[in-house]
Symmetry: C2
Subunit: 205 residues, 2 copies
Amino acid sequence: MFLYFYFTVEGVDFVKLLEEKILKDGHVGQGNVLKVDSFLNHQIDVGFIAEIGKEFYNLYKDEKITKILTIEASGIGIACLTAQYFNVPVVFAKKTPTINIYADIYTSKVSSFTHKKEYDIYVSKQFLNENDRVLIIDDFLAKGSALEALIKLIDAAGAKTVGAGIVIEKAYQNGGKIIRDMGIRVESLARISEMTEENGVVFCD
Amino acid sequence: MFLYFYFTVEGVDFVKLLEEKILKDGHVGQGNVLKVDSFLNHQIDVGFIAEIGKEFYNLYKDEKITKILTIEASGIGIACLTAQYFNVPVVFAKKTPTINIYADIYTSKVSSFTHKKEYDIYVSKQFLNENDRVLIIDDFLAKGSALEALIKLIDAAGAKTVGAGIVIEKAYQNGGKIIRDMGIRVESLARISEMTEENGVVFCD
């Protein structure tokens, strides 16, 4: 196993580094979409994402996590690299345009604002149970629909949602508030307060 | 970074272990589909898959790999865990039902026999170029359509396909032969010679 050095100490310094990477390698595209596909969700900078995983581990290491839950496709790499630190399996919820209600799966519904559509997600009942303490990992949090849908899957299994680890939160949208108001811990490494094509990305203090 | 011990030495012993895991945790479902979703493509046994990554590294470590290419969704976890050993980025091809031909992407077509449909995949031109020496990683090889489509993306970029690392090859189908006949190295860790609901899985010698 290789180790990646980014010349950081823990916590705040890594967040700074992530913010710099978003400013340097990301850009705001048409329709105010943040493109970070050079390191996060099309090409994956595996060393850097492993550092992100280490941050999530530092935040949740005392929480007796038994499973990491994410959603296909862009959450999977981050979840796997994070799971190595916790030494637990990853389960990824699958997307499907329509689903029949089978007895052996939990399902819930996501509204995607980026793609302007609704879809179902599901997890096999085999892979979540009432003894699980689950950490949700995802790349983005905006309006919170995906995160809410994942929490519903965990609830349906009778498992415990310990919290969420998010790489980038669009803090000017209300998803973070909705989930935190449910009493669920949400740790977002980079929090964006403002984002436009003209002025680029501004982070929360 | 944690280390996972599976009490194996290199190569053959790990293949044995993978075969045992397929026999123990996998099963042949309706329509002769091999279900290995408890450790490979729904729930991911991250420690075990990291060992698979190490096998791919042992097989291709002298090949000066610059990039690992896979296809969403189930290839991503395996590719990321493998890429850590090579210290290179992962690029995952995205699936889309239909695509406009944009100037900034390479596209090709996959026929899925499992899902009985055709779809397009694409990679941004930014992430593959003529200096790349690419290792393709995927969970399954059956009729070879996905692998062929990935090779076409690499060809379109003028990059070199060094080879493919496959977890499970259905050797009774012709995909492996098609790709190897193209002169491309294919390393499959587990090779299935026969598979039925009644008799289960039989591996090649």
